[in-house]
Amino acid sequence: MSSHIVLEDPKTQPVEEGETKTRRAFLLAAGAAGLCYTAALAYPIYRYLASPEEMASNATAVTEVSLKDAQKLPAGSVLMFKFGTAPAMLIHHQDGTWASLSAVCTHLGCTVQYESQLDRVHCACHGGVYNAYTGANVSGPPPKPLKRFKVAVNEGAVDVSRT
């Protein structure tokens, strides 16, 4: 407190510059130490709170999912499954072709549904419509097509992978 007064004292005028320098250096060092201290406290808390996110990002690294017995899926129906952490659809069309699309609406992230009668993908939240073969956004608010996955129908399973 009183150091202000000392600095302004005319008698100490000649050494003022040096004192101001050490004072500034001290304040800088103290500030830096305080910052390091705060960072050392904040880092574990951040990592703790971010743990689930890290686990999820490990899961999103998944590039292939094998759906056991999915080849038995009847034509005109859909199988919902998890690709990494997000929901996805395996669609067996009436014409016998297969398609796999992400089930996350590109508009605001609702989970979409396959409507077999209309053979389209519809989002109930804001009425977005996608093509059930390609995932292309057909009408409504979606700005982008649904992500499409590669499908390989095998003997005992259907393998879905990123293209």
Partner: protein, 360 residues
């Protein structure tokens, strides 16, 4: 201050009266004498309570009460990054807070800071200590490991020993005839909702009283003429020292929590026998040992009831001290209160020591 900040300050000041608060803070002083060191312990307790709130909320992010509680604590401790550290800090800080509250209480007692006009400060402080013990007891069960299971089982035998209504009280607390996931669920509600809701307003009252009456000077200081007494301004001198104490406390806590991480025992199993060497936390050791010693003289339910009766009388006498040692500092009553304090401390220390000595 630039004119813009001055304008904003004036605007807020006009509505909230900041300058009155600032004037009050400027005039606040703290007595300076040989025992001034003990003034820090209330602040340290407060700081550790804030740490408890903070780390408690962090644990709440992943804790799942009920049947899954052990699994969720295991996950916090071994899966989540630094979860072990957060949990360890919460447990260590709880113990340190208990310790600093006890130091604070005994220093208030021996400085006779409970006398007029500070009776409500003493009473609210005792209530806060009582709530802190229930915090400790309820929090101890939440991980649902072996130790928490038996600690809760044994602890609830104390209210169960109260004649007539005891068993009903114990069953209400337990949520059934035995400690189970229902017990964790209600202890959880107690620990994170009911107790904070009681503790926080009481703490506010306690702190408001400290502001209203200021720090009490011990009788030895009061005997001096006013001109011979020294004080220091609260702002910023004492506050700065207070904050330095908080920083020291935080460093000690960080050291303890990281070098001695709090253990997690095996999941509780109602069929497993109690592990050998099991004993209560240090702050419950003394009453536990007193009951054990009394049980040696008066076996069976008689001993338990006599023990609970003795405790109740002792605690009531302790709580009511401001009313029978009200004015005289060196008079007969004042000295009697002083001896009562010394006996209480000696009894607590001795029984705690015996308790640890006789752990099998």
């Amino acid at each position: 201050m630039t004119s813009k900040t001055a304008t904003i300050y004036d605007w807020v000041d006009e509505r909230l009266g900041l300058s009155e608060l600032a004037a009050f803070a400027r005039h606040k002083t703290v007595p300076v004498h040989a025992q001034s060191f003990w003034y820090y312990w209330g602040g340290i307790s407060l700081f550790l309570f804030l740490v408890q709130c903070f780390t408690g909320v962090l644990l709440l992010v992943y804790f799942r009460p009920g049947a899954e509680s052990y699994e969720s604590v295991r996950q916090i401790t071994f899966v989540m990054h630094f979860g072990w550290l957060i949990r360890s800090a919460h447990a260590w800080s709880a113990n340190l807070m208990m310790f600093s509250i006890l130091v604070h209480m005994f220093s208030v007692f021996f400085m006779k800071a409970y006398r007029k006009p500070r009776e409500f400060g003493w009473l609210s402080g005792m209530a806060l200590l009582g709530l802190a013990s229930v915090f400790g007891f309820s929090g101890y069960l939440l991980p649902m490991d072996e130790l928490s299971y038996f600690a809760t089982k044994v602890g609830l035998e104390i209210p169960a020993a109260i004649p007539l209504i005891g068993p009903t009280i114990a069953n209400m607390l337990r949520g059934g005839p035995d400690v189970s996931e229902f017990t964790v669920q209600r202890f959880f509600a107690l620990h994170v909702v009911v107790l904070p809701a009681l503790f926080l307003p009481l703490l506010g009252f306690h702190l408001w009283l400290v502001q209203k009456h200021g720090n009490a000077a011990p009788p030895s200081e009061e005997a001096k003429p006013l001109s011979a007494r020294k004080t220091m301004p609260f702002m910023p001198n004492f506050l700065r020292k207070d904050l330095a104490m908080w920083l020291i406390s935080l460093n000690i806590l960080a050291l303890l929590a990281s070098v001695f991480p709090w253990a997690l025992g095996k999941a509780f199993d109602p069929l497993a026998p109690a592990p050998t060497g099991i004993h209560p936390e240090w702050y419950f050791m003394s009453p536990f040992e007193m009951l054990k010693l009394l049980g040696a003289f008066l076996p069976g339910a008689v001993g338990e009831i006599a023990g609970i009766l003795l405790f109740t009388i002792g605690i009531v006498l302790w709580v009511l001290i401001p009313f029978y040692d009200s004015t005289s500092a060196s008079g007969k009553r004042g000295r009697a209160a002083h001896y009562f304090g010394i006996v209480a401390v000696a009894l607590l220390l001795a029984t705690t020591a015996i308790g640890y000595w006789t752990i099998r």
